[in-house]
Subunit: 403 residues, 2 copies
């Protein structure tokens, strides 16, 4: 594969946040009246509406005062911070975390994901990937010139599980996949894998000696009475699981670029070797912000979850009121993944019209699965009133363009 072909497949045209680089549309497509209202960018969360967890900036400022000792850490991150994190993460996930050899601090969870995949997948390898799932998963596999074996998740057809097709996962392992990568809670659908699904994934991984990389970025933002099962606490060889988390979403600390990966020592060691040539380390001063992670003030997380639950419920009701629109109530996280009714214009054009006429930015479903052309993803971590008004404008446009 030439380098040009390789990068043509790595499109970011519709990637969240990149809309600013799109050329303005030809006038005929926007000759209709604009729908006025406060613009809402649902492609990512609004950290002004849901501000960073307290103490983050103060921890950063203190690290700058500390100086060189915090600027230059081990590539895997400062030992004392890893020690603190390991305790929190072990309690949270229900299985031990080795701060010395089993944990690495990365520039964002995106950094952790890249390192974990690149540390376990070579050119020509087969990798099982869920559809739909976080769009970068597929792109990482393509960049490494590996082969993706898709596993369908029928999230809209069930209510008590994620709807993963476990038969397809077994087939993927049988066909030679030795790495399985998935997000739980799922991005974009906001569904949580059931205890049975996680147990089955663990059993299949054990049977085929496969490595499982689980992106648990949203695992703290769970709505009441939604049970959550940590894969790493199941009956699975610890060296075959890498768990990824970070404070960019629920805690609104994205501006500091922090993530962690924890799991088997050999894979973490490879990830550090790779980080040494990719970005050296997560910014030294920023690492100190992690001292406050899992140590937020009493009630802070409860309040954040309640605020998101209220927005979720309002938006789900609005989508539910659009005839022909299918939407499942997310059990965790801040993503909604409604399937719109058939429209008279292409989904791609609808997303453009929505942005240009209504000031509403959403991410097309095809970023997450080739089978989700009629879906759109919304990160509803927004100003509550503005989000409700934006989805009302969206509903008006659905009626205008109904097919």
């Amino acid at each position: 594969m030439t380098i040009r072909t390789k990068f043509e497949k790595l499109g970011t045209r519709h990637a969240p946040g990149q809309e600013v680089r799109l050329a303005p549309t030809a006038p005929e497509r926007t000759r209709h009246e604009p729908l006025p209202g406060q613009p809402v960018d649902f492609s990512h969360g609004d950290v002004d509406a849901h501000p960073p967890s307290p103490g983050a900036f103060e921890a950063f400022a203190e690290a700058v005062e500390t100086g060189g000792a915090q600027a230059y850490t081990e590539y895997r991150g400062a030992a004392a911070i890893r020690e603190t994190l390991a305790g929190h993460l072990a309690r949270f996930t229900g299985a031990p975390v080795d701060p010395q050899d089993g944990l690495i601090i990365t520039p964002g969870t995106q950094g952790a994901l890249f390192l974990a995949v690149a540390a376990t997948v070579s050119a020509g390898d087969k990798v099982a990937i869920v559809q739909p799932d976080y769009f970068a998963n597929r792109k990482l596999v393509e960049f490494l010139e590996a082969e993706m074996l898709p596993v369908q998740m029928r999230h809209a057809e069930v209510t008590d599980s994620a709807g993963l097709d476990l038969g397809q996962l077994e087939d993927a392992f049988r066909a030679g996949a030795r790495v399985f990568l998935f997000s739980n809670p799922n991005n974009p659908a906001g569904v949580v894998y059931s205890e049975r699904e996680i147990a089955q994934i663990a059993a299949l991984a054990a049977r085929f000696d496969a490595t499982v990389i689980v992106d648990q970025l949203y695992a703290r933002l769970r709505y009441p009475d939604v049970p959550y099962t940590h894969l790493r606490a199941q009956d699975i060889a610890p060296e075959n699981v890498v768990t990824i988390m970070g404070p960019s979403k629920t805690e609104s600390l994205s501006g500091y670029r922090l993530g962690v990966a924890f799991g088997g020592a050999e894979i973490i060691d490879r990830m550090e070797k790779l980080q040494a040539i990719v970005s050296l380390r997560a910014a030294g001063y920023a690492q100190a912000v992690l001292r406050g992670w899992f140590a937020e003030p009493e009630g802070w997380m409860k309040h954040r979850i309640a605020a998101h639950q209220a927005i979720r419920d309002d938006l789900v009701a609005l989508f539910g009121a659009i005839p022909g629109c299918r939407v499942r109530l997310p059990g965790a996280g801040s993503y909604l993944f409604p399937e719109l009714p058939p429209l008279s214009i292409s989904p791609e054009n609808f997303v453009t019209v929505l942005r240009e006429r209504a000031g509403v930015t959403v991410t097309p479903g095809t970023e997450f699965s080739p089978h989700a052309a009629r879906n759109i993803r919304l990160n509803f971590s927004q100003d509550h009133a503005a989000a409700v008004a934006a989805v009302k404008r969206l509903a008006l446009l659905v009626e205008e363009y109904r097919g």
Copy 2:
């Protein structure tokens, strides 16, 4: 190649800053008396001795106040900051920089280097690499499963150029190399390429339609009367040059992890696509620190250069006084790369003994070239008195182990 083999080649055992992960040596090797003195870690600069350029933290704090708009930027970095940087970098290098399509902000210059190489090199490609040069260059080529074609730099044998073997570079291009990667000023030797060398590199690149990636990390820390030639301002197709810089070294801003790459739009575009799956973006708040880059207070850079020149001169004199030691006066940057006389123990053991008995950490020459086993690299951006005392202890150990 299996993933295990691939990562075995990616060693970080002797990487600067990773010494803390080395197991303590067997007692017999450290049974000798320690040489007391303030420990000095020459593997990287001391940002406490040479503090960050003024205003950096204030710019960061302001960005945190700005909130979401600065936390979530385009993957290539905030447009307004790119605009400011493009002006500074065009003036500094003497050729235009396109802020919209020709510049990307990255997590450190290491991030820029990784993206530039991965955006231009595929598995099986041939890449010309200087020996000695920054150790990550070789590792990047190996990670991408490309082939390295070494080009010798005889820095110790000349005084008016870097000593690059231009015949070997031409041979490398003839043998199929289409990418040439080098640092100027050279890390580890601190030498600056002459105008003639840069002109020849430009001519060869044009003749073979090759891409040149030039790491100019230390291009601002130049000692008086040392001429410097920017490759990108020479007679070379702008789309075939990527220039990398950053404020981590001279400006001591490493704790913020910032770098920039600027050059042809197509390569910068590929780099952004890759950044989207590797780390998303340089930390949003940290990007704002770049507003103060190339805008330091009057006299600040002059003072910083003078402080380093004084340390350089003292250390070069100390090494020059060791019989059989060869050292060239660096024209730029804060690296010294002396060749030690033959010793009775292996270079690897000497580096260990030096660290364990004298508290002096240096980087073995073999990290930079297989032909530099007797060299060591010192980053002399240290406390002046402590650095002088440390090199005196080193000189004592050279005598003790002289072969």
